[in-house]
Symmetry: C2
DNA sequence: GTCATTGCATAAAACGATTTGTGAAGCTAG
DNA sequence: CTAGCTTCACAAATCGTTTTATGCAATGAC
């Protein structure tokens, strides 16, 4: 059943009694062929089941219809799909679907900068890079190879860049804090990550701003993203150092889950003893006991916008970047003061 | 920052003062160059940051270092990542990692047979096809293009084929049924899917066999995979038609979840009123209330074996296929008779 | 001094498309 | 009849590799 060599442009040309140029022009609406000839060639081509070889075409056009995606924060983690990061999985899945709408397909590329990388990596049409950090080596690499890319979240080191899509983290943070304040919280502690990306930066500065506007004393903590739940747990003694805070706002889902556990072990349960909210929604926030109020960053919308921007750029169109996507607060039990 | 054309083999040749043939030979350990020349060329090449263009190389070698994966059962579903199918996600994730071990990377290809498909689809080195059904059009397509592939689960229409890896579903089914019987169940109902794939077929026939060996009357139901939880719910009246069964063994996680819900609504709770077990593990079986006993198909092991087999085949080595992977029963509350 | 033999390097032909430039007809205008 | 236009098709160059076949020195044997 093997040896069935695929039909090439040469085969079609032979059958149609024309040159390969004619075939190429007919199929790509180029050149100066007569409409009759075009039609005849098209007909024969489909009859023979001809499909242009993507590699050969790509070699000429330097476009192969595939974009890469680099999930930056996951590069750092040992496991590529730990629980609590389903924001990225949802984003990647949605990006793949969106890509199809533009006739592109999506290839996930693991860590572009270390180790042997996919041979195809540098032949892709463009990249989506999620949550780059300042002076991100992946971004630098793409720049040096002049491969187009769009980042999800601003690149903190490139304020002038416009090739990004991001969730409106400042607004989301204010919404969450307002919600907690409405629940009666006066002192709200903030827990962020340590990666130098725009998500952490924007949420943090929005928190500080909010505190100053509301005359609250900021209580502000950080824990490395990589530590996950353990990082959240370890923070609890500090969180309790000056008494139990009225509310805790944790950016990452894994920290939030760890905090909730460690708090419970000490006898503090949300929403009775404190309010809890999280900056991103995940399986963990949904299934926690009690379920944790969280911000839905709307990865599907973000993915659509990101891929659309990248697709335009690869098509050489003028990019209208810097797109902000509004998030949505999902109120759950952890922040609803009992009646 | 653009226009920074990548360094080609020609550039390296020019700098080294040799022919491009020499460069190619030096870098690929071919030809009859002297060891000194080889070394010198290698040095210059790395100094210049040369990396062979994957497309051009692929055009010659017809191997680009990328394999495709088709998640067959998901093609049928509207959404590509509905809850309860995380077996596939785990499998795909693990396959990607395994691929890297073989210097390959993995590209997920959505539905190869309908609609416009990735241009690159037919230039990939090979495919992993999960759970093909009888006369699967995807498999036929790959055959007709003589693209190598390995299936996860036997192709029911190709008993002579050896290019497959599968979980040992007959053994797993017996293990689960034995476990339920140990819990005191005499009548055990079986719920399978309707897809004509080997998973359904093997589990079903193992069930019938087990029943005849144990003198039990088989009570055996089917519901289309696509219906998900609703399909499970709708089956409950039939399941209860002849009284409450001692135990229910549902192959898919989504059916199991639906069954559990609809049973509870009628006042039947596992494990008090009946025992429940599921043929695959998923977020739903873990977080259900009570958590559902399930079979861990060990997607990571399956992925490793599958990719390894495919990698050998693409390298032209003699394939040793037909690999069976043992599953593992995870006992949870739904099947543990209270003391 | 000639003829093999060996050692080393290269020229040229693929791979399968796209694109640029050229030219052969057929037609019209003078 | 010829110059000038169109109209339509094709030859050949190109993309960046790999691979096959060829060739040139230098060495050794007689």
């Amino acid at each position: 059943m093997a040896g069935h060599r695929n039909v090439t442009i040469k085969d079609v040309a032979a059958r149609a009694g024309v040159s390969i140029t004619a075939v190429s022009h007919a199929l790509n609406e180029k050149g100066t062929l007569s409409e009759e000839t075009r039609a005849r060639i098209r007909e024969i081509a489909t009859a023979m089941g001809y499909q242009a070889d993507a590699l050969a075409r790509g070699l000429r056009r330097s476009q192969i219809g595939v974009i890469g995606i680099v999930l930056r924060p996951l590069d750092a983690l040992a496991n590529y799909s730990p629980p609590g990061v389903d924001y990225f999985l949802r984003f990647a899945g949605a990006a793949a679907v969106s890509a199809l709408d533009h006739g592109l397909s999506l290839m996930q590329v693991a860590d572009l900068v270390k180790g042997p990388v996919t041979p195809l990596a540098f032949s892709l049409d463009g990249y989506v890079v999620t949550d780059p950090v300042r002076d991100d080596p992946v971004v630098d690499l793409l720049e040096s190879r002049s491969i187009p890319y769009v980042t999800l979240g601003r690149d903190p080191g490139k304020p002038e860049a416009s090739n990004w899509v991001a969730s409106d983290d400042a607004a989301a943070t204010r919404t969450a804090l307002d919600h907690l304040a409405e629940g009666g919280a006066r002192s709200i502690a903030f827990v962020g990550g340590t990666d130098d990306n725009s998500w952490n930066a924007d949420a943090e500065s929005a928190y500080l701003q909010w505190c100053s506007e509301h005359g609250a004393t900021p209580r502000h903590f950080r824990s490395p993203e990589g530590l996950g739940e353990a990082g959240g747990r370890d923070l609890v003694p500090q969180l309790l150092a000056n008494g139990v805070p009225d509310a805790i706002y944790s950016l990452t889902g894994r920290h939030a889950a760890g905090i909730q556990e460690a708090m419970r072990e000490r006898g503090y349960v949300a929403p009775e003893h404190y309010l809890l909210a999280c900056g991103t929604d995940a399986a963990q926030t949904r299934t926690a006991e009690p379920p944790i109020t969280a911000i839905d960053l709307r990865p599907e919308v973000l993915a659509r916008e990101t891929v659309e921007l990248l697709a335009r750029i690869t098509r050489g169109q003028a990019p209208e970047g810097r797109r902000l996507v509004a998030s949505e607060l999902i109120v759950r039990r952890s922040s609803q003061r009992a009646e």
